[in-house]
């Protein structure tokens, strides 16, 4: 599961409070923040400095795999059993279009899906998070509450708590 964690986490009822606390925490030098929201919110992305995902690389890789596979199987199979029809070219590029397109799409989509699942699992199991029952059992993040998790050392607990409380966090907890 998650690596050992030291830090503070808080829950919020309002989105603007959450964003303001994130901005202030980042200003204070806390950059490795984890947030929880019931749905994707661009306001949180902006507050976090618009991070980018590596997913498009999976898609690009999948598309190249699919298109290469399409060309290889069509050329190989056509040359392996030559079927000349009405003097038309044996390897006909226009007729390759549909299968080239379909295989590119199917590979791009599945590799993107596997990449997404992998990255979600990596975040679930690889990112340091609070290990307490209270955090793990908190089941309102997907329902109607926002959350901010701040990894920090013992010395910073009070400072982080003060920022959370300034923005009217509902609950603030220390995790050692």
């Amino acid at each position: 599961m998650s690596k050992e964690f030291s830090g503070v986490w808080a829950t919020f009822e309002y989105l603007d409070d959450t964003c303001n606390s994130i901005k202030e925490l980042r200003k204070e030098g806390y950059r490795q923040l984890t947030t929880h929201t019931p749905c994707p919110r661009h306001e949180i992305d902006h507050a976090l400095g618009n991070p980018q995902s590596s997913i498009p690389w999976f898609t690009l890789f999948g598309m190249f795999c699919g298109s290469t596979l399409a060309v290889v199987i069509m050329v190989f199979m056509t040359l392996d059993w030559v079927l000349p029809v009405s003097g038309k070219p044996v390897i006909s590029v226009p007729s390759m279009g549909p299968i080239f397109f379909e295989l590119s799409v199917i590979c791009a989509i599945w590799i993107t899906l596997f990449g997404t699942v992998g990255l979600i699992l990596k975040d679930t199991f690889g990112t340091p998070r609070p290990t307490s029952k209270r955090y793990k059992g908190y089941d309102r993040f997907m329902r109607d509450r926002f959350g901010v998790v701040v990894p920090c050392s013992e010395h910073d607990y009070e400072k982080v708590e003060a920022i959370m409380n300034r923005y009217q966090a509902e609950e603030v907890h220390r995790e050692a």
Partner: protein
């Protein structure tokens, strides 16, 4: 509207996952009976061969291929709604897209059965797939029929992937709302999703890419299905208008099926009427108006080209369709697809739920008739008068068609009880977020 909150969306949608009531069980029994009829007829066909269907010489493609094209068409609306309308940020999409996506997956699963049923010797289905066989013969990559195998499989596979991706955060919502074994069951497909910024970041980027990739797929699949016909030299098939005509027809029938499914859902599940708003259904009605016009134009264009081209076989066929033995199918199609959507021009009708429901069913019937007209009448009346024939329905194909509706509805009924039938996270995203400054 103002009383909808993040929590109320959760509660209303997850309530639909409660154990089924008597009405659900009774309906499911009817559905299973319909499916049973189909399975029985298919078993009969395996034993006795295709003599149980109306297929004859020269009408080698009959009800099964009609059903195949019909179900692929129904599937179209789901991807259109989840991909194309997502990219253009259509506001009426959010409440209906999950059920439409499910509809897509189940209709492609239904469509995929028909080529297998149609080939008669179903145990030889794998001849469609390029594999190294003992005759060292490969499939013909220049054949539109093979393109269709790739297109439909890609479409099914991509629809399932898109559907599963969208479900990840909603499974997490169900997990957090349940206890015991149910919690454990939903924890597995939710992949530990807890709505963190990292998870949403990858999820949203993947969703956008899926939408972008699926958009051309919406147009390619039915275009390729249309080439099954258009690349043949039969009068009534060999025409360049087929791809756009088929795509518009597919969206037309798919939108109608969305209404046919969403209207009862809205009625059955309490709270859904606040989420699936009249204006969402009206949005679908507008899509039906638009695609209905394209389809009507295609009908008119086909007749005009048959006359204007001077091709006597085309002329003969387009005389045969409205005045030949199968004229009832033609006029039924015209009534359902051209005339019945006309009342939707009135806002009063577009916002009248019973009227929308009736029109959606008529359009579904009309689109089945359209596919029957295309597939069967052209083969019944090709170049050589000596080979002309009529098509007579047989009980086996009728039972199998009823069974296909049973198969489709069985999956849909299971879906509404197992998975959130409306998209929880996206509905929340469409709401104004809770802001202290707005208090």
């Amino acid at each position: 509207m103002s009383n909808i909150t993040y929590a109320s969306i959760n509660d209303d949608i997850l309530k639909s996952l409660e154990p089924p009531g008597k009405a659900w069980l009774a309906s499911f029994l009817v559905i299973i009976t319909a499916l049973g009829m189909g399975i029985f007829a298919f078993a009969y066909q395996i034993r006795h061969g295709l003599e149980g269907s109306g297929i004859n010489n020269p009408i080698g493609w009959g009800v099964y291929i009609t059903n195949f094209v019909f179900w692929v068409g129904i599937a179209h609306a789901g991807t259109l709604i989840s991909a194309v309308l997502y990219l253009v940020r259509a506001p009426f999409r959010t409440s209906i897209y999950r059920a439409s996506e499910a509809m897509t997956v189940f209709s492609v699963m239904t469509a995929g059965l028909f080529p297998l049923i149609h080939i008669g010797r179903v145990w030889n289905f794998y001849w469609l797939i390029p594999y190294p066989n003992q005759r060292l013969l490969w499939v013909n990559f220049k054949s539109p029929l093979l393109w269709d195998v790739f297109a439909v499989n890609t479409y099914m596979s991509v629809s399932i992937a898109f559907f599963l991706l969208g479900l990840i955060p909603d499974f997490a919502s169900v997990r957090d709302d349940s206890k015991g074994l149910k919690r454990l069951i939903y924890a597995l497909p939710s992949l530990g999703f807890r709505g963190t910024n990292h998870q949403w970041l990858h999820y949203m980027r993947a969703y956008l890419l899926f939408a972008a990739i699926c958009t051309p797929l919406v147009f390619s699949v039915h275009s390729i299905v249309s080439w099954d016909f258009a690349m043949g030299s039969i009068p009534g098939w060999h025409t360049t208008i087929f791809p756009p005509y088929f795509v518009a027809g597919a969206i037309f029938s798919g939108c109608a099926m969305v209404l046919t499914i969403m209207i009862p859902m809205r009625f059955i599940f309490r709270g859904f009427d606040e989420i699936i708003k009249i204006k969402d259904l009206e949005g679908m009605a507008k899509m039906i108006i638009f695609t209905g016009i394209v389809v009507s134009y295609a009908y008119a264009s086909e007749f005009f080209i048959a006359y204007y081209s001077g091709a006597k076989y085309e002329k003969a066929l387009f005389w045969y369709r409205p005045f030949g033995e199968l004229k009832l199918f033609f006029w039924g199609m015209i009534f359902c697809n051209v005339i019945s959507p006309i009342p939707l021009w009135s806002k009063k009708i577009r916002t009248n739920i019973p009227a929308l429901f009736v029109i959606s069913i008529l359009v579904n019937i009309g689109m089945w008739l359209e596919r029957f007209n295309i597939v069967v009448t052209s083969l019944a009346h090709d170049f050589d008068p000596y080979a002309w024939a009529n098509y007579k329905f047989q009980w086996v194909e009728i039972y199998i068609t009823i069974g296909s509706f049973g198969w489709f509805l069985m999956w849909f009924f299971l879906f509404v009880k197992i998975m959130p039938s409306l998209a929880v996270a996206e509905l929340k995203e469409a709401l104004n977020p809770p802001l202290r400054s707005a208090k």
